[in-house]
Symmetry: C2
Subunit: 152 residues, 2 copies
């Protein structure tokens, strides 16, 4: 089941990649139904807040009509950064599923464990490595192509 | 000079308090000019992202036309949380000035030091305690009034 929802997050990531954005995608699931999707739009929007997770949380809270996304699961292709981990905490999302690790900026497992911080007023369960290779390959080939373009 | 800009952040916090929101306010200054303001709107908007800092960063990036807020200073009445600290890092804001500490959720000095984390690709200079008593008293009296109302 995690794989099916992650595949939708991968679809979102591919939408980002097609418009020259770093391919990262997210979906939010509520009662077994996708209620929000998002993909990285930082360069297109020129807005630092437009990470896949933040866009999905923004939409999900509009759908649910609450800042509390308590019955939701967030699927995201890449391990969340500090901003997105914070947004997950602020929205009380109880379960986060991610694909690939981000050794440079990930704050769920790699650099620190913000979603498992006992001093915060919310912690999230984490499932990692779902469709890891697909999520990771998307990023690797995006950056490989980018370097090729820059060489030309 | 810090006090004058923080006084504008306090004005924002007061706007939040007047509509029943926890009184937290922020302004972003670019070249000595306020380019964005924001106040906490979490209950009004029912959106977990609508912290004062995030709203101000959202507007500032629209004004500057870039996700990089490199020549900006963020003034905020309360020490930023993890989400807002992350948004500061993502937007490359070089200088953050805050008023009161947040011992429960602050991630600049209190619980951790996200803006001074050598493994992130951005760090921000921090000035704390500017108009600290004013910023702190706003929050204390807001919560005191809330408790009074709940007793009635």
């Amino acid at each position: 089941m995690h794989e099916a929802f992650m595949a939708l997050a991968v679809e979102e990531a591919e939408k980002a990649g097609k418009i020259g954005e770093v391919p990262i995608g997210a979906v939010i699931v509520h009662d077994g139904r996708v209620i929000a999707r998002g993909h990285n739009l930082r360069e297109t929007s020129q807005n630092p807040l437009t990470h896949a997770e933040v866009l999905a949380i923004d939409r999900a809270s509009a759908v649910v009509g609450s800042w509390r996304l308590e019955a939701c699961t967030l699927y995201v292709t890449l391990e969340p950064c500090a901003m997105c981990s914070g947004a997950i905490i602020m929205s009380r999302i109880p379960h986060v599923v991610y694909g690939a690790r981000d050794p440079k900026g990930g704050t769920v497992d790699s650099l620190m464990r913000l979603l498992d911080e006992p001093r915060f007023n919310h912690r999230a369960e984490v499932t990692s490595g779902v469709l890891e290779d697909t999520c990771s390959n998307l990023l690797t080939s995006f950056f490989k192509n980018l370097r090729k373009k820059h060489k030309k």
